[in-house]
Structures are given as C-alpha cells and as structure tokens.
C-alpha cells in the first residue's frame, strides 16, 4: 500500500508519547508557532479607526512532519481555512512564525516568497469555482510553470501536463478540454494535478472532498493517499468530516474559535479524547449504524459558537462546556500534556479538567478496536494500546457519577 510510510509514522507515535512534543520522529517540515491572524473591524468612512478585531486564528502552534498527514477539524468559523491561508501566505499573519525547513517564511515578499510557495501548494474545496472556466485544462495545470519556468522548460510543458493528468487518473488527451466538460470528482483531480505541478513537498488540502458526492469522495481520498506515497508529500488536511479525517490522518488537531484545543495521533484524539469540545464533536457525528442508535451517548452542546470578534475570557469553550468552573473564566488553559493522565490520554489538550469520557464500548466495537490495532501496529503495540486504557476506564465511582450527572444536564438542550 502506498501509505506504508505514513502508517509507520502513525504507528510509531504511541511509542513517542513519552517524549516531549512534537512528534520527534522525522524532521518537521513546517513549524508553526503562536500564529495569529486578526482581521480588523473598522468604523468610519474617511478616517477609519479600528474598533476591534475578528480573532480568526489566535495563537496556534504545531509541527508538520515530513511524510505525515495532519488533519485539522473544527466547526465552521473556527479558523481552519484562515490558518491554511496564512500558512500559504495568501493572508499576512498578524503575529507569530511559520518556518519551512527551519527558515522563517511568514512576512516574506517578492522572489523569496515565490521560491517558498513552490514547495507549499494548496488544493481548494470547491472544484467548480477554483478552476477558471475560460482556460483549458492544459492551461490551468500548466500555469504554475509560467511562474516557475525552472521546473519545466517551455518545450516540455505539454508532456509535463499530460504526465500529471495521467498521474491523477485522467485521460492525457483531455488537455484541451474546459472545466465544464468534467464532473465534480474529475475537476477535483484537475485541482490536485495543479497542486502537484511544481513538485511541492507540502500540500494543504482545504476541504478537498466536501463538495463531492459520497461515491466519488472515496476515489479522491484514495488518489490523495496514493500520491502521498508516490511523491513523499506531507499533507495538511482540513475537513469537517471526522471519519474521513480519521481515515487519512496520522495526527489530528482540533480547533475551536481560533485556538487549537487538542492535538494528538488519530487514536489519541478519536478514542482517548480529553478535551470536552472534542468529545462533544465526536459524539455528535452520526454513526452509519442503526444499531448504535439506542446505546449512543451523545453530548448535545447548547447554544452556538461565540463570535470570534468577542471571544469569552479564559477558556473559549467555557460558555458551552459542562465542566466549566470559575477558574475557566479567568485562566486560559494552555495546549499541553495533562500530567494527571495516563496511557493514550496523555497528549496535548487545552483544558484545566482534561479527562477521558467514559463510554461503554460494546463487545463488537471492542473487537474491532482490537483487531484494528493488531493489524496496524502489530500485536505488541496492540497490547500496549489496550493495556493502559483499562485503568483509565476505572477512574473511580466519583468521576463516573459526576459524568453521569453532567450527561443528564447537557442532554436536555437549553
């Protein structure tokens, strides 16, 4: 399978969990530190004065390791797309640093920026509006070569484009067709081919499959995974579909109101989430299994996401959180490893009261979890994964009771 490299990375993470973050295996290709993007809110026509700011991204830090896929999930308005734009330097960062292979890239201009952009490319969400309807497919995919002629000299461009079409599974003879002659899935393949044209090392995918039909989504996901193996790409995969993110990602970051609230390997986030928001988000995802209907234990969050122009003090999730205490309004929790947790629950989480949720797994689910762990990481790792989770589920009656009560409270909206 083409994702062998990626799987190996993902599998290695539980082992690395003991060491300082971020994942220490492999060099970080992108280092993001305290990245901030505020959009000013102004009043007045002639003399504009700033009356506030929409804090779209407000202090986000993470590393992207070579060859891995980092999934970013969160609701609309949480800043995930703004984050992508700032990383691409399509929007200037307000503060913070982005390093590509150790070299600062935020704030670059002109030819230096052009050189860096060759290595970081983007695949956009909507394949209907992100392709120019008046350009042929050949022109669309070949346009990056106009800006970076060193990648493919003029004479070789046509063959380069045809090769790319072939790589993404389109007929190379379609080079003179226009975007409207293709279906949504095929257009997204064209978008991916354009992203690959300059042989980048990092591709930022902003909701690459959410505009596609269910039966076509899987085709595009498979293509992305296959290309990752073939060209040794690192992906930042932004999406709101949590099951697809889990499938493709080695690590997952959860964003809420411009902050990263939890960051860890896919197993850490999906099976051992410790931040209340992540838990609510995961529990809200409808499971395609009607037998799960009765025993599901959904946290229904009340209210809506607060405005990013005026986020709550302290922890931004506290207005919707069932665990919130006075401390949460005063002291902002930092993204760090909670010292009081064990096993896979130990990963970055920005909550004062980080703890796993107690959910009774059915026997069937437990079996799937076990067999999946064995297949992926080998029997030794499976032992490790299941081992520590047993004590975690036995935090004691007090915790269980408290969570039950809270479950009851949050179960009735408003």
């Amino acid at each position: 399978m083409t994702t062998d490299g990626a799987t190996a990375l993902g599998a290695a993470q539980p082992e690395e969990a003991a060491f300082a973050q971020p994942v220490s295996c492999g060099e970080p290709i992108l280092q993001v530190r305290d990245l901030v993007k505020h959009f000013p809110l102004t009043r007045g026509v002639l003399f504009k004065r700033q009356v506030g700011a929409v804090k779209a991204v407000d202090g986000v830090s993470f590393d992207l390791v070579k060859g891995e896929t980092l999934g970013i999930v969160g609701e609309s308005g949480c800043g995930k797309s703004t984050l992508a734009k700032v990383l691409m330097n399509l929007e200037p960062a307000t503060a913070g640093s982005v390093k590509y292979k150790g070299e600062e890239i935020s704030g670059l201009r002109g030819s230096a920026l052009k050189a860096v952009r060759r290595n970081i490319q983007m695949v956009f969400q909507d394949p209907y509006t992100s392709l120019n309807p008046r350009m042929t497919v050949g022109d669309i995919i070949g346009e990056p070569y106009e800006i970076h002629p060193e990648v493919a000299p003029k004479g070789q461009r046509k063959t380069a484009v045809q090769d790319l079409l072939d790589v993404v599974g389109l007929n190379p003879e379609y080079i003179n067709r226009y975007p409207h002659q293709f279906s949504g899935g095929q257009r997204q393949r064209i978008g991916i081919a354009r992203g690959l044209a300059l042989k980048p090392e990092v591709i930022i995918c902003d909701e690459p499959v959410s505009a596609l039909d269910v039966s076509v989504q899987a085709q595009v996901i498979n293509l992305l995974e296959q290309l990752q193996g073939e060209f040794d790409l690192s992906y930042m995969f932004i999406a709101h579909d949590l099951s697809i993110v889990r499938h493709i990602s080695d690590r997952v970051g959860v964003m809420y109101l411009g902050k990263m609230v939890e960051l860890g390997s896919d197993a850490e986030i999906y099976d051992h989430a410790t931040h209340p928001y992540t838990q609510a988000l995961l529990s809200a995802v409808p499971v395609p299994d009607p037998t799960a209907r009765e025993r599901r234990d959904r946290i229904v969050l009340t209210g809506d996401v607060p405005s990013p122009a005026n986020p709550p003090s302290g922890c931004r999730f506290r207005t919707r959180c069932w665990k919130a205490q006075d401390r949460c309004a005063v002291e902002e929790p930092l993204l760090a490893r909670p010292a009081w947790l064990t096993g896979l629950a130990v990963h970055d989480s920005a909550c004062h009261f980080a703890a796993e949720r107690e959910i009774e797994l059915s026997a069937a689910e437990r079996e799937i979890e076990l067999s999946a762990a064995e297949r992926e990481i080998g029997p030794r790792a499976a032992e490790r994964e299941v081992g520590p989770s047993t004590p975690e589920r036995e935090i004691g009656p007090s915790t269980a009771e408290r969570q039950e009560n809270e479950g009851g409270e949050t179960g009735t909206p408003q």
């Binding site: 609309s76 899935g185 039966s215 409808p286 395609p288 992926e376």
Partner: protein, 339 residues
Amino acid sequence: MTTIVGMPLLDVRDLHVEFVTRDGVAKAVNGVNYRVSAGETLAVLGESGSGKSVTAQAIMGILDMPPARIPKGQILFKGEDMLTMGKDARRKIRGQKIAMIFQDALSSLNPVLSVGYQLGEMFRAHRGASHKDAKAKAVELMDRVRIPAAAQRVNDYPHQFSGGMRQRIMIAMALALEPDLIIADEPTTALDVTVQAQVMDLLAELQAEYHMGLILITHDLGVVADVADKIAVMYAGQIVETAPVHDLYAAPAHPYTRGLLDSIPRLDQKGQELFAIKGLPPNLLRIPPGCPFNPRCPRAQDICRRTDPPLTQVVADDGEPVLGRASACHFWKETLRDD
C-alpha cells in the same frame, strides 16, 4: 386526525418527472413508488442528480412546469390524487397538510422581512388571522422550536440569527399549521455537526409529538441510521432498494447500496485503500440501457445491460417475504448473501 387505518398518508405511484432541455429530455424521476404513514420516517437516500429532491418537489407541487413535466404517475395524499385535483384543492394541502423544510435556510427566508412577519404569514394567509394574533402565534412557535428569548427576537431579521437558529425557524414555519406530513430536503447539510445533532433531535421530538409522517431527503448515511424507520435508496431517478433501516445496514440487497456503505471509512480499515464505486453517476439525458447502475456495478452481467430489473420483493431463505424489503437488481440474492 382522519387517517383511515391501513391507508398510508402519502402514496407515490409510478411517478415520472422529465425536464425538457435544449439538449434533450432529462429523465429525472423514472417510476418512483413509495409510501409514508403517520408517525413514520422515510429516508430517501441518494447522490446529487438521483432525483430525490425532484420527487419531493413534485409532491409539494413546486416544480416549474415547464421545463418540468409529469408524463405519468400518481401522488395520493390520503387516497386523493394530487396531480389531478384542482388548483384550489391542491393549495389547501400544500403548506397546511404537507410542509417542506429546505436545505439552505438563509436563501429560503426573505432577508427584508422579520422572521416574526414571515412566521405569522402562515396564519394570515391560511387562517385569516390578524397581524397581532399572527405575531403572538409566531412567538409561540419560536418558543416551541426552542429559540431563546423568542419574544425579544420575533422582530429580528434572518441575518441576525445563526445557521442553526435559522433552520429552527424553517422548522417552526413548517410546523405552523400542524401538517400531517413534513418533507425535509437535506435539512442539516449546511450545518455543523454539533448543531446538526440539535436540529435532528428537535425534528424527531416534534415529529413524535404531533405524530407526523416525515420524509427525510439526504445523502448522509449517518443521519439516516440515526432517525429513519425505513429507507428508499435512489439512483438515476429510480428506487433501487427499499428496506427497514436495520435490514439495510446489516445486509444491503443492491450493489449500489453495498458500494455506498463500503465507501464509508471504517475504523478497522485505516491505512488501507477505501472502497470506491468506480465511474460516475449517469447523465440523465443518456441513462444507459438496462440497469442504470450496470456500467459501475461489479456484478454486472449481460442481462443487466439488456433489461432493467424491476423492484422485486426480497424473500428470506425460508421462503417468507421480508416485510418492506425490495431490490431492483437481477442478482439481489447473491448481493444479499455476499458478506
């Protein structure tokens, strides 16, 4: 409620809808049959272009005709064919007996009128209520769909509400005249998952309270599993499979349904290639002969390219027909058994 026992609330029979376009006639719906009873939730599952929304629009009578036309079929509401009844009779049903919730609440609400005015319009137009009474009713409705501080917000405009709240207003509007049947066309597709959960819970609760029939049109297999009683899967304007929800997820009887279920990423398949249905949905101007799914079907034989399989009753191994199960596949037995 005057539903006669044994008679479904809505009975769609052999419905055909076509669109006359410059390039030819697009056959959007080709012989759809389904029934909904009071208190029941039917999920219509399908990809874009499968005809699920067009069927709903035909039921509501909101298709633009032309370009659309209905060459064949019946839509029986409590035994009366809505396609042949007069305009006035139809108007009495639409909105009062059958209401619809649309996908995009922002573009379905009028941006220059307050939500209270728009909610009250239902009572003014259909019940002849005064402005004052209509507004009081609007506040009551907003309360019922749990919009906080309804009395203060009744004069707010749609843009002042969040996406989830706007969808609640759409639900309130559909509920206003206490209809017998609600058609929800992708009601939560534009919403975030946490808000989607709130809205779906609310819809299910209100449905139980009023004992309404609900047709839920969606492409989301997760939402369907959560709320539906029975499912109709559509492909290229036809129903390819119908089944009670548990049966369908346990063992699909049509290769298309099987493909859809298999293409959901599963926990035990991480790192492996996802199953993908090859190819693309057909162009409705040129639906392939035989079974419309045959060019994409792993099971396709010569017979599939020649004859279009009718929707046939699924029979269990002991010879007993399975209640409510039917599949439009020549090889449904093999598909069902193939696990």
